[in-house]
């Protein structure tokens, strides 16, 4: 509330105009009648403008204030709620331009409230709220960033992965710092055999990351206890382990989450690669000038609520010497809308992309795919976690 100056409606203009000229804090003067009830307002900015002309002042100085005042003005109860005030201000700002409201107490003028004061109040309120939000956001983001370090710890070791192939390219872009996508590589058995997996757990963000921890630990456990399994068997067992761990093997399970995955088993000794996938396919770039081959994964996701154990998934065997590169990608790549018409990127575009860049190294290919995806997305929002593994043989 600003200092309030009132003037009687019958008073002469020269009793108030000089005061308004001298005192810049008098933004709004309330004109009251003999009963002290407000009947109009004088606004400093309008008075100064109108009286800038000495002739105008000469004419008005002897006239009553009523000849100069603005009879249209907005009022608000002095004990009213600030929340209701916004509505009144909105209304008043749309109809006439005044500098403020007249506050009423039992119909009498109790003061004025300048819009500039109210604006200041709103800005302070807003700043306080913004600070509170920023703090809450910081706490959450600190926690999520920390969680991201933990999650990155369970991802495959990039150096070890590169050392296991001619070259490896990795795209790993969780939508929300942490995510449900992970890539993983087993240690090597004495004969050189090892597994590589790409997993897309349902959801993203924190829930996705929680399921991904479970999947990674189940993969480690399977490797330790069952490394004689083929990829299709691994996926079936992995589905069972995750389902049991989430207690989704009963009818009354509360959650219903699972994952998509592709696993390759590489056996350098026999020169053979086996692939199995659940909703993650395999794109093979052959060494010779043959077209890019697409092997579809089994179409069911794994780990979801169910009482029957998962059956082993079908395997596809390839000879290492036929293969230049193998590419696996999560649905964050295929489903991302973009391009001119907001269409999904889709498998055909990925196959074409791989064919166009088949001579690039695996890491170069992954880099280009990453920028291709960014370009494709354009100003569309990122819909999901996005990952791709390019294994160069």
């Amino acid at each position: 509330m600003s200092p309030t100056e009132t003037v009687k409606v019958t008073a002469r203009c020269d009793t108030i105009i000089p005061r308004i000229r001298e005192d810049s804090s008098l933004k709004l003067v309330v004109v009251v009648d003999e009963n002290n009830l407000p009947v109009g307002i004088l606004e400093r900015i309008e008075i100064l403008t109108a009286m800038a002309n000495p002739l105008a002042y000469a004419v008005f100085q002897n006239r009553p204030v009523s000849s100069l005042m603005d009879e249209e003005f907005f009022t608000f109860p002095a004990d009213g709620d600030m929340a209701d005030l916004s509505a009144v201000i909105n209304e008043s700002a749309e109809s006439i331009h005044t500098g403020g409201l007249v506050l009423l107490d039992d119909n009498r003028c109790a003061g004025v409230l300048l819009y500039s004061d109210f604006l200041g109040y709103m800005v302070r309120q807003d700043a306080e709220r913004a600070a509170e939000l920023a703090e809450a956001h910081e706490v959450v983001m600190d926690s999520v960033n920390y969680a991201s370090r933990i999650q990155q710890g369970l991802l495959g070791n990039r150096d070890k992965m590169r050392a296991s192939f001619t070259d490896v390219g990795i795209v790993w872009e969780p939508r929300d710092v942490v995510g449900g996508d992970i890539f993983w590589q087993s240690p090597k058995r004495a004969d050189g055999m090892f597994w590589v997996a790409l997993v897309d757990c349902t959801g993203h963000g924190v829930p996705g990351a929680m399921v991904s921890m479970l999947v990674a630990s189940a993969l480690n456990r399977l490797w330790e206890t069952h490394n004689d399994l083929n990829p299709g068997e691994v996926l079936g067992k992995l589905g069972d382990l995750v389902r049991q761990a989430l207690n989704q093997d009963s009818e009354d399970a509360k959650s219903n989450d699972g994952f998509d995955s592709a696993i390759v088993r590489i056996e350098p000794a026999s020169g053979v690669v086996n692939y199995a996938g659940a909703r993650i396919g395999l794109f093979v770039v052959p060494r010779e000038h043959e077209p890019v081959l697409r092997i579809n994964g089994f179409k069911m996701a794994l780990g979801y609520k169910g009482t029957e154990p998962h059956a082993p998934l079908p395997n596809t065997e390839l000879k290492i010497h036929d293969v230049a590169a193998m590419v696996m990608a999560t649905d964050g790549v295929f489903d991302q809308p973009g391009g001119a018409n907001g269409r999904a990127f889709g498998p055909t575009r990925l196959a074409d992309f791989l064919a166009a860049h088949r001579n690039d190294s695996a890491s170069e290919l992954a880099r280009k795919l990453q920028s291709e995806m960014t370009h494709w997305r354009g100003d569309q929002s990122r819909r999901d976690d996005l990952s791709a593994l390019v294994l160069g043989f």
Binding site: D200, G203, A301, D335, N341
Partner: protein, 126 residues
């Protein structure tokens, strides 16, 4: 229960369930943060209707993007439709896709592979 309409959100599709006409549709994008919070109630209403009536039905999918948790909802829905069709109900499933969107088309074809009794149509739109 004659009609259920839920307007599209940024992450949720438009749901139009016309129980009286037996026409149901999901349209737009579907990637709610909590898929159950969004789908549980409308799907429960649909399943209640499915169980308690025997009229022919048409389910239109006009989705341009959906996440894996939504895929699970759709898969459960397809199973229920197939089951109803197996019991003699007339079930038509229409899967809309844009002519240059092979991704959505393929996803529809995958769902269709499990359908024997329910009738499935791919509908190309420009």
């Amino acid at each position: 229960m004659s009609k259920l309409f839920i307007g599209a959100g940024v992450r949720t599709p438009q749901i139009t369930f016309s129980f009286e006409d037996g026409v149901f549709s999901l349209e737009g994008e579907s990637y709610p943060e909590d898929v159950r919070a969004f789908y549980d109630d409308p799907m429960a209403q649909f399943y209640t209707w499915l169980e308690s009536t025997s009229a022919p039905l048409r389910f239109e999918f006009k989705l341009v993007y959906f996440n894996s948790s939504t895929a699970k909802v759709i898969m459960d829905l397809m199973e229920r439709l197939e089951e109803a069709a197996g019991n003699g109900r007339e079930c038509l499933i229409q899967w809309h896709y844009a002519e240059d969107d092979d991704n959505i088309k393929e996803l529809g074809e995958e769902f269709a592979e499990d359908l024997v009794s329910a009738k499935f149509e791919l509908v190309e739109v420009n």
